[in-house]
Symmetry: C2
Subunit: 121 residues, 2 copies
DNA sequence: CCTATAATTCGCTATATGACGAAATATAAT
DNA sequence: ATTATATTTCGTCATATAGCGAATTATAGG
């Protein structure tokens, strides 16, 4: 029950659902997710941590950068079903569609470039 | 997105998950759910209302009694998948198994009898 | 009509959560 | 070694939520 509740609660926030979508079949470093959401680094990092703790995200550290992506085939059936449910439910959603545009813009920039811009704020 | 978030948030509480389970393939009146959870009537009613608002529960009024049950085949695919996910995930859960015992005990009493007992508290 | 009662709504309190900026940590580059 | 920088952790605030009891609503029965 605890594991299940951790997953549901991790999904019970709109920004975290948007994160799941932008990390579907793609890995992004934290600064890219920060740019995508438009939230503070600390807030974004917390969201990622909650999703990771619930096993909805895999993470990989590469030097100074940390990359996240949605859980792969190693994930438990409960997690797999959760992701399938979310992705099925919001395929046509306005916000998610808009997010796809935002994400493309973010992807056009290299992480290095992005972090430099964020440092200037 | 709003509908989806309403569903996820409705599921993001352990007592509400327990309610979903006890109303699976079975309709119960509010006083039975009160007894099942052991929470105050006002609290229980709020939980039921949240689940109903999210379309996870159907309700039917019969005189003074209100009966709830999990959403039937008319429900949207998103709701159906949500229920299938929950029910699949917790089939073996300790709490849910214990709840089955509790529920049997509750079902042995008639609603009328039950309400009378609750009134005395 | 009036009373009893099943359920809901309201007002309140305690705790949980999301947001931020500042400080800390960890790694790369000089 | 020292500095720069990507990320996380910590402290704080504002808002959201779960819980209760009291008051209200709606229906059944006298």
């Amino acid at each position: 029950m605890r594991d299940f509740m951790e997953i549901v609660k991790a999904m019970a926030d709109e920004n975290r659902i948007r994160i799941l979508y932008c990390l579907k079949d793609r890995e992004l470093c934290v600064c890219q997710v920060i740019e995508f959401l438009g939230l503070a680094p600390s807030t974004t990092s917390k969201h990622l941590s909650i999703l990771h703790q619930a096993r909805l995200l895999d993470s990989q550290k590469k030097g100074r950068w940390v990359y996240y992506r949605t859980a792969g085939p190693d994930a438990s059936p409960v997690v797999q079903q959760a992701l399938a449910w979310v992705f099925g439910a919001l395929e046509q959603d306005k916000q998610i569609q808009a997010d796809r545009q935002t994400l493309e813009a973010v992807l056009r920039m290299e992480p290095e470039e992005l972090c430099k811009i964020q440092a200037e704020r």
